[in-house]
Structure formats: structure tokens, C-alpha cells
């Protein structure tokens, strides 16, 4: 027998507090003070969990005669005690509780089915590496499979049997092409100017400022125009594809298409892949012109080159093969960016967060893919002597 007081604070009249009184066969948990969401329990649940220890078969009697004001905090605490009692084979004696409190406690305890934990345990490192590897190889396989479906759908289109929505296809074409002109133009002018500026500083050290136009032209046409345009398209158009299709997925629009018997790849993916595949080489040519123009601005401004001499050196430095290489790369980049956007959009989950995840994944995969494929192109061009 004895009282064990805990958690007495200066403002003890209001602060929530508890004490244990032990009697034969029964331990009484006496609560007092204000038990509200806005007063806090100052660690009482933790202290109670550590100190309430009954013998099997004993009862824990709850007395809240000293409680001046309570809200959910009190039943939440008592529910925790009820669960502990059940787990340890003790009995919770709630007979002294007011009817309202007993009602809500009963509701919270009885309405729920037995807890069925859904806690994902973190996998071990090797398992995680293995899981990720399988995951990525699975994604790569799915992407190739989607490409195959697009090729089949393209065959259907050539035979005039593809199912697509003409107005949607035009909108996509416009979004991929005309709407992208300002951002593609701006970025490429700036990149051309940066190449020229960095090149001019180096070339002037060797008195070879005349070669600036050659360097800018080759760098722009062979690499930068195609890669920069693809990166911009990935961030702009690929992300838009992913977000749009992921939202459709969440709204069950994709399911509706399937139920209507409309081939999703023909309806959603093919127009986007074709649009970006068609527009990317055109945007590449536009980007080449503006990249060279950016270089020209720096060349004439910094090195006092004339328009004629800059233009002559640019034309001399370039040949058709370089344009063919750049345009080919752009075609592949465009198709890849579109496929990535559509793929992540189609495999998105059905919630708001999934749209963000799909967009991020599409952009990341698009940009990484562009750089990787560009490296393959560089090796192939070197081997072929282009």
C-alpha cells in the first residue's frame, strides 16, 4: 500500500498528473488536473508505461475524480492503458469512468478490427541493391516493350488503321514545336555565346581568334544544339507528357480508354512520340542557327570579326554530314524523351504524389538517356569518320 506520485508541477492544480495506489488485487490509477490537447501530458504516457506493472490477473482501476477538464487526450491515454492491460493479461476496471468517456472508449476499442500491422521493414543492403537492379532492368525491358508497341502502332498508322484523336495530336504537335521555340531559341543563343566567350579567351592567347567561328559552328552543330535542345525538351515536353498521362491515370481516363477498346499506345503514346520525333530535328536546325548567332554576337563584339569573315569561316567549317549526324541524334533524343514521359506517365500510381514522381522520373530518365545516347553517337561518329 502506498501512493506513488509523479509529475507534480508548480501549477499542480491545472497540470495533468497521475498517481498509483496499490491495494490487494487492484492497482488504482488516479488521474487529476486538465487533460487536454493544448495542455500536453508532459511525458505521462512514457512514465506510466514504465511504472505501471501489475501481476497477471490483477485489475487496473481508473479513477478520474480529480480530472477538471478533458478532451481526446484522456480517452487516448486510457485506450493505450487498455491495450497494455490486454497485452499483459491484466483487467482494466473502467467502472468509475463517466458514461460519456466509457462510450467513446468503447467506440474506439470495439469499432476497430484487431490491428493488422502494415509496417514495411527496411531491407538489407544487398537485398536493396538486388531489388533496385531487378527494378531497373525490369523498367528497361518495359521501355523496350513500349517502343515495340509504338513501332507496331506506327505500322497501324501507315496502314490508316491507328486510333487517335486528331485534335489532340495537333495540340501535342504544337506544344512540341511552335510553343517550344522561345525557350529553345533563348537557351541556344546563350549556350552559343558562352562557347564563343570561353573559346575566344583561349584562342586569343594563341592569336587564333579567327578560328572562333569554326569552333562555335562545329561545337554547336555536332553536339550542343542537339543535346541542349533535347535537355530543354525533356524538362519541358517530356515532363508535360508524364504529368498529363499520370493525371489521366489517376482520373481513370486511361482505364476508360482501355474499356472502350481504344489502344492506349496508339491513342496516347504514338502521337506524342511522333510529334517529338518530328519536331526535335526541326528544333535542332533552329537551335543550330541561334547557337551560331550567339557565337557571332560574341565574336563580333569581342574579337572585332566582321559578319562576312565570321559567316565564311562558319560555312567552311561545316558540312552536310555534321548536320545529318546532329539531326539523327535529335530524332533519337526526341523519341526517347517522349517515350520516357509516356512510360512514366502510364505506370504512375493513382494519387497526387504519383504525378510528381512520374514527372521527376521522366525528366531524370530523359536527360540521363540523352547524355548516354549522345556518348554512343560520339563513338559511332568517330568510328565512321564523320
Amino acid at each position: 500500500m502506498g501512493a506513488q506520485a509523479a509529475n507534480l508541477t508548480a501549477n499542480s492544480r491545472l497540470a495533468p498528473r497521475w498517481s498509483l495506489r496499490k491495494e490487494p488485487g487492484v492497482v488504482e490509477l488516479a488521474l487529476a488536473g486538465e487533460w487536454t490537447l493544448y495542455s500536453g501530458l508532459s511525458g505521462i504516457p512514457e512514465a506510466a508505461a514504465a511504472q505501471i506493472d501489475l501481476e497477471a490477473g490483477q485489475s487496473l482501476r481508473i479513477d478520474i475524480a480529480g480530472v477538471t477538464h478533458w478532451d481526446s487526450t484522456l480517452p487516448a491515454f486510457l485506450l493505450t492503458q487498455a491495450e497494455r492491460c490486454r497485452a499483459h493479461g491484466w483487467t482494466l476496471d473502467a467502472g468509475r469512468l463517466p458514461a460519456g468517456l466509457r462510450t467513446v472508449l468503447k467506440m474506439a476499442d470495439e469499432l476497430s478490427p484487431p490491428a493488422s500491422g502494415h509496417v514495411a521493414r527496411p531491407a538489407r543492403l544487398f537485398r536493396r541493391v538486388g531489388q533496385r537492379t531487378l527494378q531497373y532492368s525490369g523498367k528497361a525491358g518495359e521501355m523496350v516493350s513500349l517502343l515495340g508497341e509504338v513501332v507496331i502502332a506506327f505500322g497501324q498508322l501507315l496502314r490508316g488503321k491507328a486510333t487517335y484523336y486528331r485534335a489532340d495530336a495537333w495540340t501535342v504537335l504544337q506544344a512540341c514545336g511552335a510553343d517550344a521555340l522561345p525557350i529553345v531559341g533563348l537557351v541556344n543563343v546563350l549556350v552559343g555565346a558562352i562557347i564563343a566567350f570561353v573559346g575566344a579567351v583561349q584562342l586569343l592567347q594563341f592569336g587564333a581568334g579567327d578560328l572562333l567561328a569554326d569552333g562555335v559552328a562545329i561545337a554547336t552543330v555536332r553536339e550542343m544544339a542537339a543535346v541542349i535542345t533535347a535537355v530543354v525538351l525533356s524538362g519541358r515536353t517530356g515532363a508535360a507528357f508524364a504529368a498529363q498521362i499520370a493525371t489521366m491515370q489517376g482520373n481513370e481516363e486511361v482505364d476508360a480508354l482501355r474499356v472502350m477498346g481504344v489502344p492506349v499506345v496508339e491513342f496516347l503514346v504514338l502521337p506524342r512520340v511522333l510529334a517529338l520525333g518530328l519536331m526535335a530535328p526541326l528544333l535542332y536546325l533552329y537551335a543550330c542557327a541561334l547557337g551560331i548567332f550567339g557565337g557571332f554576337l560574341v565574336g563580333t563584339g569581342m574579337l572585332d570579326l566582321t559578319l562576312t569573315s565570321y559567316a565564311e569561316r562558319t560555312v567552311d567549317a561545316l558540312n552536310a554530314n555534321q548536320f545529318i549526324l546532329g539531326a539523327s541524334k535529335s530524332l533519337v533524343f526526341g523519341v526517347m524523351v517522349a517515350l520516357s514521359g509516356c512510360y512514366y506517365g502510364l505506370r504512375a500510381g493513382r494519387n497526387a504524389a504519383a504525378v510528381g514522381e512520374a514527372t521527376t522520373s521522366a525528366v531524370v530518365a530523359g536527360i540521363v538517356g540523352v547524355i548516354a545516347v549522345d556518348a554512343i553517337f560520339a563513338v559511332c561518329a568517330n568510328v565512321l569518320g564523320i
Binding site: L37, D71, M107, L111, S112
Partner: protein, 250 residues
Amino acid sequence: MSFERRLIQQDISFGVRRGEIFTIMGGSGCGKSTLLRHMIGLLQPSLGRIRYGAQDYWSATPEQQDAVRRRFGVLFQGSALFSAMTLFENVALPLQLYTVANAVETRGLVRYKLGLVGLRGYEEFYPSEISGGMRKRAGLARALALDPELLFLDEPSAGLDPISSRRLDDLILQLRDGTGASFVVVSHELASLFAIGDNGIFLDADSKRPIAHGSPREMLEHCDHPTVQAFLRREPVKDAGTHDKVVQDE
């Protein structure tokens, strides 16, 4: 009450008593949900006042409006659970934002709130992993998080099967009895309206004003307005004239 300069409803006046389940009824497009959005502070009425106790919501300072908002909870039509959060995180969010509960207390409170709606054990599930009825109940648990005096439920039974709908009605009644909270329920589900409604208002889309006050059962028995009778008896409207019978004015 208007939306983008278009009159939705006018001459609306009613009060909700403590522990009462007040139903807002009417056909589709009559402005039930718009009225609710006005009541929860998402839309400002073009004329008139919305008072919580003595406090006029729209003439209050932002701080006072914050305090008023904590006195009510809202269950949106689509539950509006944050899809990137688990049920635990959804219910814990208001507790973490507005109370002094520590992690252990918050866990206990969330388990209790989810227990009240029959979802204890589902703390770690995401909204996309549970059924529509469970999402409604989880939304209700989040609305209950701060022990509101008043709960607004927008079409709580919409999209639920009859059994889930009945279970939700029972839950609302139990919560009212257990917590003493008042409820304002927007619905056109007749079975639910009759099961839970203590009092209510019927909004008419044609006249753009309330045409009946009282509990759904009182309206059924005493209101002879053809629109109200047609609605409550699930029959075609016999006479859509400019009838303006009010059962019980407040």
C-alpha cells in the same frame, strides 16, 4: 450567396444547436456544397453573416479566423486525404501543427481517433491502399483530430454502398452521442438524411432560396411543397410552381 457574380441562394438563415445533426438538402446544383464552402470559410458570402457563437467569421481578424477554424472539422466529399501521407500522418498533421502533444501522445491520439472510426491498425496504410468507405472514415478521423465542436460533412455517403453508408450513418450518430459534437451534413442520400437528421434546411434551385426548414421526417410529413415532397419521396415533381411553404422557420 453567389459564385462569380451568379446568384446561387439568398435569404438563408438557420442555426445549429449543440449536439444536433443539421442536414442541408436539395437537388443537384442547388448550392448545398457552395453553402458549406461559405460556412467553412472558403467562400465569403456576398451579403450577410456567418457566426460561430458570437464571432462573425468574416469580420474577424485572421488570427480570430484561425481560432474559429480550429473549432470545426471538415470531411470533404472526396475525403481530401493527403495521398502522399499515411493515415497516421494525415490524422497526426493537425495535432502536430496545433497542439503541444509529443510524439508518444500524438501516436496515442491518432490511434484513438482512428479507433473511433474503426480504422485502428491501418495507421501505416496510404489512402490509395484502402477502400472508398475507409477513406471517408479516415477523413472523418482527421476532421475529428482537434476535438471540434462542429463537424461539416460534405456528401459523406456519396459513392458508398448501402452497407458502408449505413455504417457511416451509425458512426456519425455514435460520434455525436459520444463526443457531443454538432454536425452539419450536406447530402441528398435519403436513407442517410432520415437516419441522422435532427434538423435541416431544404434549398431550392429554381427559386434560389430555402423552401423548408425542419428535420427530413418533419418535412416529409408536414411540408406540402411539391419539390420537397418529390425529393423526399423520390418522385417526379408534380407542380413546380412558386410555392414557398416553410415548415419551421427559425
